[in-house]
């Protein structure tokens, strides 16, 4: 029974139209809303996906924000919901809530150079940024993507790298922690922060977006500050345990901030004084 209250816990339905294997534990799901409407979102926002019978989980929306017919989530298998999603096939129906959260400040950054730093799965929320930049290339100066992963196999969206390299004034720098035998690798080996040596930032005119594992973000943030980047221009996308996505369940609080509604994107100035930011 509906009492005329809008119920934010009720998911809408989306149909899976394509499943892509990114690597052995990561898949990308292309979905379209069953009601035919577009899922309008801005780069950096996330949605909450239901696998009925198992539960809900938050995932960054990782597709081109201007693509109206479909949207995408990339999922790494780590637990219950993500395991269930791994068994999903095209044609299956999932529940979707959202989009939620504050996006990357792309308007504010207009006119600036962009440095995008991603680790592993952290490339997912940055992919819409790249698509956006490609469409609105004139809005930004140079764009550098620094991407690190554990091994070459852990990288996602590798099939798009070529087209990203073709975006004018955009460069990709790749690195891995180690290269297994028999794997060909012509890029760097080492932590992602080392890739910063390739960029020559104009501090005042550069905005940095960072997303990746906590440790990686911690070291990256420290290094960026030491290099002289403005705390207000360094943005991180944080991950927390999250149940509701709408600032009720409490789980995602960091100090007085809710990751779900005040974030997940924060700049270093905002979170500088908060406890429990980094484990």
């Amino acid at each position: 029974m509906s009492n005329g209250f809008e119920n934010p816990y009720v998911p809408a339905f989306a149909k899976v139209v394509e499943v892509r294997n990114e690597n052995s534990i990561t898949k990308t799901f292309t979905m379209s809303m069953l009601n035919g409407e577009a899922l309008r979102f801005r780069p950096g926002q996330f949605n909450i996906v239901s696998y009925f019978g198992v539960g809900e989980s938050a995932f960054s929306i990782c597709s081109n924000p201007e693509e109206r017919n479909t949207f995408e989530n990339t999922v790494r298998r780590v637990g219950r919901v993500t395991t269930a999603l791994f068994n999903v096939k095209p044609g299956d129906v999932l529940g979707i809530r959202g989009p939620y959260g504050k996006p990357w400040p792309l308007e504010k950054a207009a006119g600036n150079d962009l440095i995008l730093i991603a680790g592993g799965m952290g490339l997912a929320p940055l992919r819409p940024v790249i698509h956006y930049v490609a469409r609105h290339r004139d809005l930004y100066g140079s764009v550098d993507l620094l991407y690190g992963a554990r091994t070459p196999d852990d990288m996602i969206y590798t099939y798009e790298f070529e087209s990203w390299r073709n975006i004018p004034n955009m460069r990709l720098y790749l690195t891995v922690d180690y290269v297994p035998q028999n794997v060909k690798w012509e890029h760097d080996v080492g932590v992602v922060t080392e890739l910063l040596r390739y960029v020559k930032p104009r501090m005042r005119y550069t905005t940095v977006f960072v997303c990746g594992p906590e440790v990686m973000m911690k070291f990256t943030a420290q290094l960026l500050l030491r290099m002289g980047f403005y705390p207000s221009e360094v943005y991180l996308s944080l991950e927390r345990r999250m149940k509701c996505g709408i600032g009720k369940c409490g789980h995602c609080q960091i100090g007085y901030k809710y990751v779900c509604k005040d974030g997940p994107v924060f700049n270093l100035e905002e979170i500088g004084l908060l406890p429990d930011v980094i484990e």
Binding site: G53, G79, R80, V81, T83, A84
Partner: protein, 249 residues
């Protein structure tokens, strides 16, 4: 439609109470069986030990001798997912109380010719094999059993919420047996899910569901000491269904 989940129910040293909880699902059992193919359940069926691989094994009971250890290892090899079912399987349960008595002595208390009877110390399954999930309690909880089985049917790992018995006790609005009657209650450090059954019936929690990760047993013991609970009672409380890692006890 995915294939039915192939499940075996096995028993080591135990009272069969956890298997009984499965039988006590009664009509719900018939619903569960729509999704599950019970390949082995000796208590109610003539089937022989399966040779084909199982999707999941529910293993009840503690390991108390080599035969059981060997049996358990065989079950492990056979099963994709192994659930330690009940306090005995999780921690050794009540069987482990004898572990503090020197070997041989317990046997001779019970049997006139103990040489015919073999038994070592009692341990939970994880002393011998990898355990994929736990069902806590002596006996296990019916709803958790259903949820676990249905999770396995969906091919996802089961989930038991990590809250304490004490929290469930509060949710029910019970009067605290520790604060009102000074009875040492293990609710504050025990994995919830039983609905705080014992405190709700005016009985202090005996900790049959084991210690919840992240709780502080030492803190609780100090609280008991401050409340005047005797050291002897504390010692007994800490060795029942679970042997608690408390320094100096």
């Amino acid at each position: 439609m995915v294939d039915k989940l192939k499940v075996g129910v096995f028993k080591l040293t135990s009272c069969s109470g956890c298997q009984m909880v499965l039988v006590h699902l009664e009509e719900s059992l018939l619903e569960v069986l729509k999704h599950i193919d019970l390949k082995y359940f000796r208590m109610v069926s003539d089937d022989d030990l399966p040779n084909e691989p199982l999707d999941a094994a529910l293993v009840e009971g503690a390991v108390t001798n080599e035969e059981e250890a060997a049996m358990l290892k065989k079950i492990r090899r056979l099963s994709r997912f192994l659930v330690a079912t009940g306090a005995c399987a999780a921690t050794g349960g009540v069987n482990a109380m004898k572990n503090i008595t020197p070997e041989g002595e317990v046997e001779s208390i019970v049997y006139s010719s103990p040489e015919y009877v073999r038994s070592g110390k009692a341990f939970g399954l994880n002393e011998y094999v990898k355990v994929d999930a736990y069902l806590y309690g002596c006996p296990i909880d019916r709803n958790e059993l259903v949820n676990t089985l249905m999770s396995l049917v969906l091919r996802v790992p089961p989930y038991i919420p990590g809250l304490t018995v004490c929290m469930e006790c509060k949710m029910k609005g019970n009067e605290c047996v520790f604060l009102t009657r000074r009875e040492p209650c293990l609710g504050p450090v025990t994995v919830g899910g039983c609905g705080a059954l014992c405190p709700s019936n005016n009985v202090a929690c005996e900790g049959c569901r084991g210690v919840l990760k992240g709780t502080n047993v030492n803190g609780l013991v100090s609280a008991w000491e401050k409340a005047g609970v005797s050291p002897e009672l504390i010692r007994i409380k800490l060795r029942k269904y679970t042997v608690y890692p408390v320094a100096g006890r």
